[in-house]
Symmetry: C2
Subunit: 222 residues, 2 copies
DNA sequence: TAGATTGTTAATCGATTAACAATC
DNA sequence: TAGATTGTTAATCGATTAACAATC
């Protein structure tokens, strides 16, 4: 009965499928084959069918996949209808931007409170979310389940706050601090947004391309 | 002479090595073996040696790696000393946060200008960066090379602005729009920061864990 | 020199792709 | 029914791990 462990690569493709299906839906497409989906996404049809078959049989021979139905299956696999509760710790620039702009609801999460230490923000509301002093953190765990914490505090306290969150029983941390957290993956799920890692990878590919172009130019000049 | 194509997986590990080496340096460690590095990062020593050997011979038998030297090699591979020039398009919440907080210089990039359409921000300065009207975009390409553009405009114009940037000759786009850009990878390097993809993957792992715990509890109760 | 650890070749493992019978 | 396309098994490809000679 238990489904075999699904590889991380497959999981990381699911949100892309979701986005593409939403796009197709918006364009009025209501069925699609793995072949056509592959063409549009730059994947093989085999890979797409393998990916979906990790979770069930969502298609129909001779027909393909129903866009709305498949979208709903993937949404469910990703937990989008579970209504996870979220707190945010660290209302700096990025924390504030997330509170004001990120549509947690759209992905099955809802933000219930935020925390900071600076007196000038504690006690205020941002987009309807109350900012509490971080010393009040334990209260929220007494009154609600907290599934996930957005961690957007300064680097130097990242690990200490993460430790605290885990000890209070948070189940997952969405880590924006650009620090590798020293918490065991047995006790908490950590998902990192490492801006700098992303930029550095871009830097590598950019360097590679610039060098290739310079080489090509040098060759031409000869 | 030409180095074999290095896999994306290896490239994505380089920034992690960099961060770890910086941490070791800060802690006063000046040499490390692949074995110890692996222990600290959760990788095998084999993988670490394989990764580095894609780029050269950075270690010494019987000794290991010099932390400072290895750090410098990786920084150079990632193009951190190339001084790439950057423009930012879309000074909304996230764009503003990047201008104010993200330390481009630290990674070998420098921000030269930003663009928006809203009259209330055009003409102002944010952290020393002038915000121009987007209609002025072509000027910067006439007077400077522009290696990379940070794309942080609203979703619905993302592709149109990306097209424009590519036509002006930008070499890479750091894409914060959560939209899959329809530009060919022959003409431009695209590096995506998809917040929602990251959150949805977290949602998957969180769902999985919650279900596993519920199952364990049900089993215990029996 | 002896011990440690690299760089690299070979073996294993896992992920992607191809092929095809089942079936809508 | 015939054509299309799935779900799945087998083949291939690539990435990780193991092993070890080279050497500091």
């Amino acid at each position: 009965m238990k489904q075999a462990k699904v590889s991380n690569n497959v999981i990381r493709r699911l949100p892309r499928y979701l986005r593409k299906l939403d796009e197709l839906k918006a364009a009025g497409v209501d069925r699609i084959s793995s072949g056509e989906l592959g063409r549009q996404m730059g994947l093989t049809s085999s890979q797409i069918r393998q990916d979906f078959s990790c979770f069930g049989e969502f298609g129909q021979q001779g027909y393909g996949y129903n866009v709305t139905g498949l979208r709903a299956e993937i949404a469910s696999i990703l937990g989008m209808n579970r209504d996870f509760s979220v707190i945010l710790v660290g209302v700096g620039n990025i924390g504030r931007a997330m509170i004001e702009n990120f549509c947690f609801e759209q992905y099955g999460f809802h933000l219930i409170a935020a925390y900071d230490v600076r007196p000038e923000v504690v006690g205020t509301d941002i987009s309807g979310i109350r900012i509490h002093d971080i010393s009040e953190l334990h209260h929220v765990f007494e009154t609600s389940k907290v599934d996930m914490a957005v961690l957007s505090v300064p680097k130097h306290i990242a690990n200490q706050v993460a430790r605290d969150l885990v000890d209070h029983g948070v189940k997952a941390i969405w880590n924006f601090t650009n620090v590798e957290l020293n918490v065991s993956e047995n006790e908490v799920i950590v998902e990192n947004i490492h801006f700098s890692d992303s930029l550095l990878a871009l830097g590598y590919y950019l360097s590679e391309r610039i060098d290739a172009e310079a080489n090509a130019a040098a060759k031409n000049a000869k």
